[in-house]
Symmetry: C2
Subunit: 419 residues, 2 copies
């Protein structure tokens, strides 16, 4: 058979977002000796293989306590199962405890990671080619990629600014386009690290009502405020009008290897709720989320009285200390540059006076042994900034990585000055 | 917020295929006392919760044997992982042992169930609105639904007949459409139960080469020939020209609750293989398949020297006996009707002289306590036939179900005669 011509395959395959994700995944394999301030994966410090059977057993006990017979327990965990999931009730209790979000468990669809939740939601809202999605720029590459997979254009809202949002809505409508939703990460956003203040959250909900817009709230990092920082209420907890679809992940707070996420979609339709429509789509994407994987997350929720806030105090301390180490290091060595000072989460964005692209990253990895992420991956355009992630290194690795970064930056700045 | 208008959401949500899947999933919950000859799920007879930690431990030992350090073992199973999967090499060995399929493990993408494999493949091949998929009619509702999700029309090929296939290709091309692939289940197909003979397989491969068509071979039931029946070679094992994309499932042969499937896509592109393109799409659908779930399947493969044929001898005996019980019962009690006599798999199709729809199924469930599947769900048109599945009942349940079916059929036939 002759070579397949990639140009005859779906356009997303030559899209920047999909190749970006791929590039970022591959580069760490290409430079195994480089320390990664690129990966947004959670710390492995407390990984324990025995957790898996322990959480499974905890969930099985819970099912027995609910009155299920032994065959029914086995069937629940080992057989094909409910499309919307088997830990929806436990997720609802977690949301009540940790997020002050109170929803009917039937409004929750448990998904194969939060990425599937995004895909299902965007698939539902992309009905014809006038539909568009609005998203904070810079934004998570996973939402851009999912949008591309369903041929949904993404209109950038610079820094999530609400006046920019209103202006983007107005322009889109004037062009005959239909803005369906606005994607935001109000807490310690990926990649900026920044959060929305309370007034902005309230105003955003007002704008959503006034403009008849759905808000897609993605919250993977909310449980990781840095030392002393207060947590702000999520949009969904402030939402009295079912304007917010809440995208949830357990990758950072539960266990990444479970690949379990969820979407809260309590919006009503003429004869049901949006969650049931998303479930229909899910039945054609993954049928149902592995009940074994769900049982692991369910067991962790049960073992921690539904509080992942409580379950993550050690992880939070690591991220918090690492975040401070990064900003302290930048202040001590690079006072001439500017960077964001997040109050939590995984990411710091450093702005530099020279172009930052994948080639420069490869040089940093090869010659200096440190990986970071060019911010261009989160925009549609080149930008002179890089993202530093604090989550996947221990204190010693971080210090070495920052020293290497300083050597790299010093050489780059010197070269930039002399050119 | 006002009710969402479903007509402003993606068209698939009002499509027959998606609601069909939903209906079939729901009806068994609505009539919990009815015995199901509808479900295509595997037998639960040998389910054992302890299998999960045992298989996990087996896979972890394998990783240690490969030289991985303890942190690396933990990272492999608990952290985010390789997009194409972590059991691809074990799957390749299984394919060599059980299917005489020999492929580079790099050509395998491990997926969140075979459904995701279908979705990724159809997404790749649906580039513009001239693209169409060909599929045997009747066909699996999951392929119809996945096609609908990516707006890819499905052209039916009656009973998978090869002359019909050639004619469908010709007509489509004359209409300016681009037939991208032909979806087939050559072994014990869902829903017909029938298999393609060896000559037909060879001729199909010739047609694919001649018409420059890709074949999508789906093989969930191939390891379940009934007593005495020989297994025929899969299309992929006969494929010397990389014409066949092989869709694999472990739901019936491994463990349904793992939700692990895969796709073999060794077709070349200008600078790589199709599997890598599918992986890019996967990174935006589910990121990666739960490594915990993959480890369970990997452990089962390791524990059985890569042969799921050997691992399933007890299950095969059950399906084989049940299949014979169904056809013997039909011969003894319904000699005036016609049905398929499959040489393996899960399904028998019974043709009757009265209309068969969802309403009739509801009556059968409610008044006779037996569930089956209207064949209309696998076509675009009504059809007077029903599908009986032998897989999810034990011998005693099956006998009761068949007696109930006979009561139902007798009443229906009598009513049909008198009307």
């Amino acid at each position: 058979m002759p070579d397949l011509d990639v140009s005859t395959l779906h356009g997303s395959l030559t899209d920047r977002a999909l190749n970006s994700m791929n590039f970022l995944n591959e580069i760490s394999h290409r430079y195994p000796d480089a320390i990664s301030l690129a990966a947004g994966r959670p710390t492995e410090e407390f990984f324990d293989l025995d957790d898996v059977p322990r959480y499974l057993a905890r969930f099985a006990t819970h099912l027995r306590d609910q009155g299920l017979s032994e065959p029914a327990v086995q069937r629940t965990i080992l057989q094909y199962g409910r499309t919307k999931g088997i830990v929806h009730d436990l997720v609802a209790r977690h949301l009540a405890v940790d997020e002050n979000i109170h929803v009917d468990p039937e409004a929750i669809v448990v998904t194969a990671g939060c990425q599937e939740a995004m895909l299902l939601t965007l698939r539902a809202f992309r009905a014809d080619d006038t539909d568009v999605l609005l998203a904070t720029a810079p934004t998570y590459v996973g939402i851009t990629g999912a949008a591309r997979l369903v041929d949904l254009p993404v209109l950038p809202v610079p820094d999530g600014d609400l006046d920019e949002l209103l202006s983007a809505i107005k322009t889109a409508r004037a062009e005959g386009r239909r803005p369906r939703a606005f994607y935001v990460m109000p807490d310690f956003a990926n990649p900026s690290g920044l959060s929305m203040d309370l007034d902005t959250r309230r105003r955003l909900l007002e704008i959503a009502a006034q403009e008849d817009l759905v808000l897609l709230e993605d919250n993977p990092y909310g449980l990781f405020p840095a030392d002393g920082a207060d947590r702000l209420p999520t949009l969904k907890s402030l939402d009295t009008d079912r304007r917010v679809i809440y995208l949830g992940s357990f990758a950072k707070t539960g266990l990444p290897g479970a690949r379990v996420g969820y979407v809260v979609a309590d919006q009503t339709t003429a004869d049901g709720i949006l969650a049931d429509e998303l479930a229909k789509l899910k039945s054609m994407v993954t049928v149902n989320t592995s009940p074994i994987a769900q049982a692991v997350i369910g067991g962790k929720l049960l073992a921690n009285d539904f509080s992942l806030d409580a379950a993550n105090h050690r992880e939070r301390a690591i991220y918090s200390a690492n975040l401070r180490t990064i900003t302290d290091h930048l202040a001590a060595h690079h006072g001439e540059l500017s960077w964001t000072t997040p109050t939590g989460g995984f990411f710091v964005v450093l702005t530099v006076p020279f172009p930052v692209d994948d080639e420069l990253l490869a040089r940093s990895a090869q010659d200096y042994g440190v990986l970071w992420t060019p911010m261009a991956h989160f925009y549609n355009t080149p930008v002179n900034a890089l993202r530093l992630s604090c989550s996947s290194v221990n204190a010693a690795q971080l210090q070495t990585a920052l020293d290497r970064l300083t050597a790299f930056l010093t050489d780059q700045l010197s070269a930039a000055t002399h050119s």
